[in-house]
């Protein structure tokens, strides 16, 4: 786990760290990855990955409208919004 890797995954995660924290985080990540590396030694050839304990659920349903338009309610929690939209810094000049 080098600084460059930490920088890449920090950006992928949209997180930033100051210099002081960066070293601690790098060390922590190194230790955690080393800890989970013990899975390496397990023979898992031909083993189907288990994504969820319930492999048979996830039923489909009719695509029916069940909820009313609650735009106002949802926009109320937005840090910045006008009456129709969430507002963000300008993206296109």
């Amino acid at each position: 786990m080098d600084k460059e890797t930490v920088a890449t995954i920090s950006y992928l995660s949209r997180l930033a760290f100051d210099k002081e924290n960066e070293e601690k985080i790098t060390k922590d990540l190194e230790n955690i990855i080393e800890f989970v590396d013990q899975l390496d030694g397990v023979d898992t050839s031909d083993i189907e990955p288990l994504k969820s304990p319930l492999e048979k659920t996830a039923k489909t349903r009719e695509d029916e409208i069940t909820a009313k338009n609650r735009k106002e309610q949802f926009l109320k929690n937005a840090p910045d919004a006008n009456e129709d939209y969430f507002l963000v810094p300008r993206v296109v000049e």
Partner: protein, 482 residues
Amino acid sequence: MSIQFKTIKELSFMLRSKEISNHELTIETFNLVENNKHLNAFITLDKEKALIKASELDKKPSELSLSGIPVAQKDLFVTKDLRTTCGSNMLSNFIPPYSATVIENLEAAGCISIGKTNMDEFAMGSSNETSFYGNVLNPWGQNLVPGGSSGGSAAAVAAGIVSAATGTDTGGSIRQPASLCGITGIKPTYGRISRWGMIAFASSLDQAGPMARTAEDCAILMNEMCSHDKKDTTSLDEDVPDFTEGIDKPIKGLKIGIVKEFDLSKLDNDVVKIFEDSKKHYESLGVEFVEVSLPNINLSVPTYYVVAPAECSSNLSRFDGIRYGNRCDNPKDLDDLYIRSRSEGFGDEVKRRILIGSYVLSAGFYDAYYKKAQQVRRLIKDDFDNAFKKVDLIMSPTTRGAAFEAGSMSDPIEMYLEDLFTVPANLAGLPGISIPNGYVDNKPLGLQLIANSLQESLLFNVAHNFQMTTDWHLKTPPLETK
């Protein structure tokens, strides 16, 4: 008359016999909250609405199973018009426009939600020390952690403030705090209880459950919490039995497995002795113990620390500072908005797990970590399937030891190993219960029983038999109310 430390059953009786009114019970409950403020078990209280509901019940009594029972709700369940923080600064101002199915189900059964309990931030922690709102104290001793992540719920029940609380369990977050606080808590089969309105941490592992003083009370709560919910695609479409039915049936002839690979010799002698005493107690009730081998079970914690962070990093990407939650001041562009809003909003443990998740899911590492962990996850589940061909239940201590002091565990991996005995049930989706079974230096310990899928009734039956014949669950912490 005191209501402290009463069970749901006892409070229901007091209400029905008019020994106490709904309003009086609710007022008394808030007095207990106030007297136990130093525990920091609650983040948000809902006194006004609670008292209105109590008065309504006094005017119009109901026969509902939880009528008038005060319940503390973990702050991970969204509650309509009541602030829901998930223990995070990210959501310090979040007022949900709807309620979780669990909350709706419990309130429809007559309960009175009194407020939201403190928890590890986004349920990531085993000591409640990661909460943005300060750590919760365990009523069993000075400066002891209550466990986590449902630590506020556990402390509130242990201090006798409420008879019932809700929790969620992704790797042990109901059972571990139940163990450390001397109460009873169950993580049901994955899919038993709807996850709709639970703020997601690791979707294939998260499961809600009840926390209470007795297994019987947990069964009463489970009856109401379970439902098939079309809004949650992983919600089980199975009949929900009456979990209290047959709870006192004798358990003679039952076979319980002891996991060969769990090396108990690494635990303190006191902890081992308490476990052995519980075994002997069950033997006296006619249970037969059998050694079972689950060859991959010791890979559970490393497997969990790939799967859970991966799902967490994906789930927590929704906190973008745009639709709800924290937004930084004066963002200069969109990326700056995302990065600063998230970096300010999340605490260290949450950030650590998001980073680990991004790492194991990133190109080039996906197969080596994420896919590999899912493959090992299947091996672990297969181990359980094989074990349940030989035994009815599997028993272990819930935790490696009793509650530790706040601030005493700084190594993340040491903290992760707190969940050594609880994580396997989450990976395999199985139900597990923790019941108090002894004390070390006046600090409670818990006994864990794991059953096969959908066998919660058996867990309640076996736990209730233990509680009918022991009094560990009746002990109350030393009172130091302020």
